[in-house]
């Protein structure tokens, strides 16, 4: 199969999954006890007003009409209106997205920068103190609930030693870019340090599980690769050990690691939701939690769709990358 055909096939699968996601999210409303009109109205409201609201929300239409209304707006970026604020859901989700993306990307960077060298060191110094240290770290890392880790970091580093702020996001990357573009360089630099200062604890909180996971994967992948005959053959032909380890073994290790990272992006978003709750980080997670507490279904539905569709798209991207770096996939 050629690379382009592989990508087309993968994208079609992705489209199907996206359709499924939207349908599931649409169905979510029907499993909730009580109907949405109750959210807006006091229980003892005049039946006429009630009927009016229901009509306005389109809840008295036949199911297929409701479904069509729901699904047909999505390609145009319409996710309906919030029951509470009556503003478009899409705009609210969009406004919250940068904060979550920032957090997720920062955590991924933390994880990759720490985990890959750690995994390599661990594998190449097997049964030495560094290896034991890395093994214990990764074991505890994948077993620690990140919200608790966040609370611990706050207690120790923010409360006791006052090194970091406990919460909030006074400025985002978008704000910094804006300052930069408008020419106030000094303020942009200030903004950047403030941003870094505020995002450190949330990023570490969210990134620890991934650091641990990727360390584990890198270590076992590296051990596996270093035991392969081609590594021995590379040494037999006199290649420098650095080249054997990094050009040959590490690259082959990273190919499957990339896929796993892709598969785990969902966990990353899930982790972001709860990390946001710990640090009062104003992102999608906070939006989701608030929408549940306020029973604001359209906002919940819109956020879920954005998260799931984003996840599917990223996975297609990861697969494409995988096919690109691993020629066997495309040719098989």
């Amino acid at each position: 199969m050629s690379l382009s055909r592989f990508l087309v096939k993968r994208s079609l699968q992705g489209l199907f999954v996206i359709w499924g996601v939207i349908t599931v999210v649409f169905g979510l409303r029907f499993i909730s006890p009580g109907d949405p009109a109750n959210v807006l109205l006091p229980p003892d409201v005049d039946p006429e007003v009630r009927a009016e609201v229901i009509a306005e929300l389109g809840l008295n239409e036949p199911l297929y009409v409701q479904y069509w209304d729901f699904i047909s707006g999505i390609p145009l970026g319409e996710l309906g209106n919030s029951l509470v604020t009556r503003t478009p859901v899409a705009a609210r989700v969009l406004a919250k997205l940068p904060a979550t993306l920032e957090l997720a990307i920062a955590a991924t960077i933390v994880a990759i920068v720490i985990a890959i060298p750690l995994g390599v060191i661990s594998a190449t110094r097997r049964h030495q103190p560094a290896d034991y240290g890395a093994t214990v770290f990764s074991l505890v890392g994948i077993s620690t609930p990140n919200f608790w880790l966040g609370v611990m970091l706050i207690i120790v580093l923010a409360v006791q030693f006052d090194l970091f702020p406990t919460s909030q996001r006074p400025i985002g990357v978008d704000g910094i870019v804006l300052l930069f573009v408008s020419g106030s360089l000094g303020e942009a630099v200030n903004g950047l340090t403030t941003w870094l200062w505020h995002i450190t604890l949330p990023a570490v909180t969210l990134g620890t599980y991934f650091t641990a996971l990727i360390t584990r994967l890198t270590r076992s992948g590296m051990l596996d690769q270093l035991g392969q005959t081609y590594v021995r053959a590379s040494r037999a032909k006199g290649l420098p050990e650095t080249l054997v380890r990094y050009k040959h073994a590490l690259r082959n290790t990273l190919i499957p690691v990339i896929t796993v990272i892709g598969l785990q992006l969902g966990t990353l978003i899930g982790g972001a939701v709860i990390t946001e709750a710990v640090f009062a980080w104003p992102g999608l997670g906070t939006l989701i939690i608030n929408s549940i507490n306020a029973r604001d279904w359209p906002v919940l539905q819109g956020s879920l769709i954005v998260v799931a569709v984003g996840f599917v798209l990223v996975n297609i991207l990861v697969d494409a990358l995988y096919a690109y770096v691993n020629p066997q996939v495309a040719y098989d």
Binding site: I31, V151, I274
Partner: protein, 354 residues
């Protein structure tokens, strides 16, 4: 189902792995703690005592500056008609009566940790069993029938996987609300635990029900069945090609019988390994839901961490200790999972011979 060889591998791996031993000890310890909570818990987890709020754990004491009424020679000092106050450092010492301290409402943290284990274990075991049941049914059906059936089932699994499990769980619990089923605690209802406690002079008044967080169990299963489906499907796909399975079918064995008799027993090992890891994952998920206040549980490690947050600058232990309980439990389960995986599937970590 579990062959002699498998048992031998398990024993051998256990003998040479210190970590596996640690894992088993931890898991057994936590299980015993959860089961025998009404015997060993010092107090009822809900028993408040506001006079003893925020006592630190043994080995720690806290110093706090408080404004107190100024006293001289045993009487209140009054100047200009006002009671005079002064700043004074107040020390709070740990007491042996509450070895892990008390929370903001003066409840004993050790008791809450012991009872919290019940919530985690109940959700972990029931949630995993339900997920395994759904997943294995779907997976075996898909792998055994292949074709259309397989396509439909596995595509729905893909759709489930597109939702981050925590987000989906939050949404489902949020939408459904929190149904909880109080079931009678057998030890308390039969009078066994109270008799034991009064014989030893322990405090009595243990709760006589165990709260089964129904919605949470269903939701974690709905979120996690997919992993079981994948494993079961893979096994079914390969086992149905085995000669003896083909032979059984050729002899007219029904599909259900073939699956039960031949396919399932062979799939048991990987499912068991997965289940161990899933218990850990589900315990983490439950604690996250409780932390966010969505599970409705009022005795749960995650919930207690959230309760402690308002004291994070004065009483660190309220959040810290339940979290440690989670970490220890999950580490133990992961170690047991690693042990099973290494023993039952030695091909996973290649050693590369000559």
């Amino acid at each position: 189902m579990i062959s002699e060889r498998t048992l031998r591998n398990l024993r051998r791996e256990l003998r040479r792995s210190l970590l596996a031993k640690i894992g088993i000890v931890v898991v057994v310890f936590i299980l015993l703690m959860a089961v025998f909570a009404p015997f060993i818990s010092p107090y009822s987890p809900g028993k408040q005592n506001l006079d003893e709020a925020r006592l630190p754990p043994v080995g720690f004491s806290t110093a706090e500056t408080r404004e107190v009424t100024k006293m001289e020679n045993g009487s209140v000092v009054i100047e200009g008609g006002e009671v005079v106050t002064e700043e004074r450092t107040v020390y709070t010492n740990a007491t042996a009566a509450h070895p892990l301290g008390t929370d903001g409402n003066g409840r004993d943290i050790l008791s809450r940790v012991i009872y919290g284990a019940r919530t985690s274990i109940l959700v972990g075991i029931f949630g995993t069993s339900l997920a395994a049941l759904i997943g294995v049914l779907v997976g075996l059906t898909a792998g055994y029938y292949r074709g259309r059936v397989d396509d439909v089932l596995m595509r729905s699994a893909d759709i489930m996987l597109a939702f981050p499990s925590l987000v989906l769980a939050i949404a489902l619990v949020g939408v459904w609300g929190q149904a909880q089923a109080p079931i009678p605690d057998p030890f308390v209802v039969t009078g066994l635990a109270p008799a034991f406690r009064s014989a030893l002079g322990f405090t009595t008044g243990m709760p006589d029900t165990v709260v089964l967080p129904g919605t949470v169990i269903v939701v974690v299963a709905l979120v996690n069945w997919v992993w079981f489906a994948r494993v079961a499907r893979g096994e079914a796909l390969s086992i149905r090609e085995e000669e003896y399975v083909k032979a059984a079918r050729a002899l007219g064995a029904s599909d259900g019988w073939t699956v039960l008799r031949h396919v399932l027993p062979n799939a048991i090992t990987p499912i068991l390994v997965l289940a161990t890891i899933q218990v850990a994952a589900i315990i983490l998920l439950e604690s996250a839901l409780s932390f966010l206040g969505f599970s409705g549980a009022d005795v749960s490690w995650g919930f207690d961490i959230a309760l402690g947050r308002q004291y994070q600058s004065t009483a660190w232990w309220i959040s810290t200790i339940p979290g440690l309980a989670i970490v220890i439990t999950v580490v133990g389960l992961n170690l047991v999972g690693d042990w099973l995986r290494d023993a039952l599937d030695p091909g996973i970590e290649g050693e590369g011979g000559v």
